[in-house]
Amino acid sequence: MDQATKAFELSDIPVKEEKKYSYLNLGPTHPATHGIFQNVLKMDGEIIVEATPTIGYIHRAFEKLAERRPFYQITPITDRMNYCSSPINNMGWHMTAEKLIGLEIPKRAQYLRVIIMELARVADHIICNTIIGQDVGATTGFLYLFQYRERIYEIFEEICGARLTTNIGRIGGLERNFSDKAWEKLDQWLIDFPIAFQEFSNLLERNRIFMDRTINCGPISAEMALSYSFSGPNLRAAGVDYDVRVMNPYSSYEEFDFIIPVGTQGDTYDRFMVRQQEMWESVKIIRQAIEKVKKEPSHIFRADAPEFVLPPKEEVYNNMEALIYQFKNIMGETEIPKGEVYHCVEGGNGELGFYLISDGGRTPYRLHFRRPCFIFYQAYPEMIKGRMLSDAIITMSSMNVIAGELDS
């Protein structure tokens, strides 16, 4: 009688075998991780139990390299950090150097910088958001919107001659003025991009399949995000309205009217939506900047700082002063004050900081890059714990981790 009334319990069944985990090596070169990321995943079926990231596969010792280069030669190093939005890195570095030497930049040059930086931000976010789409199986948006990224690169090409690793601008402003062609292309882009972008938004933003796939995928709370020093869209998606452009305005951002979109859940969908909104805001900022540029004298594009810009070649051959500056530039004979300076800009994926110690020599004594990816990527194992492998892939792409910046 006793036997029959006893409730059935799971523990009564004898366990035949121990629980077995399998290990999966995701990366270092895996087509779905978009960069050199290795994660050794401890898997229970399709559930991730533990992830161990290994980084440093493309480490190029930028901080060491920077200790041997004159200031103007450090710009190309910064290109190769977050190569999806190199102009922001370039200008962040220029502004750090300007802060150190106390150089005042004319308003028009500042607005031109804002235009370039916002274009770069749009290019960066286009990559990130279309790739989230790509990773959940919506290739259309990726192929469609990439044209407009290509056209941003064409504008960069008109301004500085390069596309991906731009080396755009110089300490003190830009190396040359925007050409008529550049303005023309920019105006046309401002007409075409919002239309295409709206279509892309319609395709994904309220798409049931996309929402089911991304909502509650790889979420992070605001507290966690702050304790892991998140910044940029990832932090804002978690609900913290920290944006360097507003907190510590640089390059006259305080004159612009734009909003900082924030999310609530900090999941993949929120990160996607924050970036979507930021692109609209960037377009708004670019429009305002163009209006502001029109009010300034059109020939000014940089401060009067000949020590940091190579003079035009014809002047070098015919003009004593230009020859001296050419020599000073190349040999790094420029006077640089001693000091310790930190400057941060809102990069494509967060607070990009430059901590520069100068001992008055031709090269920095120490240059430390605060690379947002490097800092927030360490929360990745925490974010994918207990989730599916396919969720891990889109969580990574939605975090916008760029290998070049991660490994410096």
Binding site: I55, G56, H59, A61, E63, K64, L65, E67, R68, K99, L100, L226, S227, Y228, S229, V240, Y242, M247, N248, G332, G339, E340, V341, Y342, C344, E351, G353, Y355, I357, G361, R362, T363, Y365, R366, H368, R370, F374, I375, Y377, Q378, A379, D407, S408
Partner: protein, 165 residues
């Protein structure tokens, strides 16, 4: 302006609480910088975290000063609610740079400390996983220290005297 920053409230609070620890207070380029003795650094950061709400660790890095035979560690904190930043610096002896870990306060310090260990050999006591992060594990040197020049020293075709450091 620099005077105003140096006399800010937080400095007074720190001076009251940790008078013996503070070596100097400066504000180069309007950035409050406090140089401290190394002994109580984690306690001070914990105090700043709990009492003064400096709850965002912006960055952490090492600096080598071969002349003073020391390796400095720089911590940069941010109080997001009032948008105030503070930089704390400590100097450790070059021969034996040991400091307690900050991961007990900020999980974000984990990789930053690993990076600092990787490049400067600073030992963060109590760190959960203090191994190299960017360089290869077999490496025996700490490459960002100043005694390791950038270029290959076996090269004979270049004269470094001519081109500065």
């Amino acid at each position: 302006m620099e005077e105003v920053l140096a006399e800010e409230k937080i400095v007074t609070v720190l001076r009251e609480k940790f008078a013996d620890e503070i070596l100097s207070v400066e504000s180069p380029y309007k950035f409050l910088t406090v140089t401290l003795r190394a002994d109580k650094i984690i306690e001070i950061i914990k105090f700043l975290y709990d009492q003064e709400k400096y709850q965002y660790l912006t960055t952490l890095c090492g600096i080598h000063y071969p002349d003073q035979k020391s390796i400095a560690v720089m911590y940069q904190l941010h109080k997001l609610s009032e948008n105030k930043r503070i930089r704390l610096k400590i100097a450790l002896p070059e021969a034996n740079p040991v400091v307690p870990t900050l991961t007990t306060v900020f999980p974000a310090a984990n990789w930053m400390e690993r990076e600092t260990y990787d490049f400067y050999g600073v030992i963060f006591e109590g760190h959960p996983n203090l191994v190299r992060i960017l360089n290869v594990e077999e490496m025996t040197i700490f490459p960002l220290r100043k005694e390791y020049p950038l270029e290959d020293q076996t090269r004979e075709d270049k004269n470094n005297q001519m081109f500065g450091r």
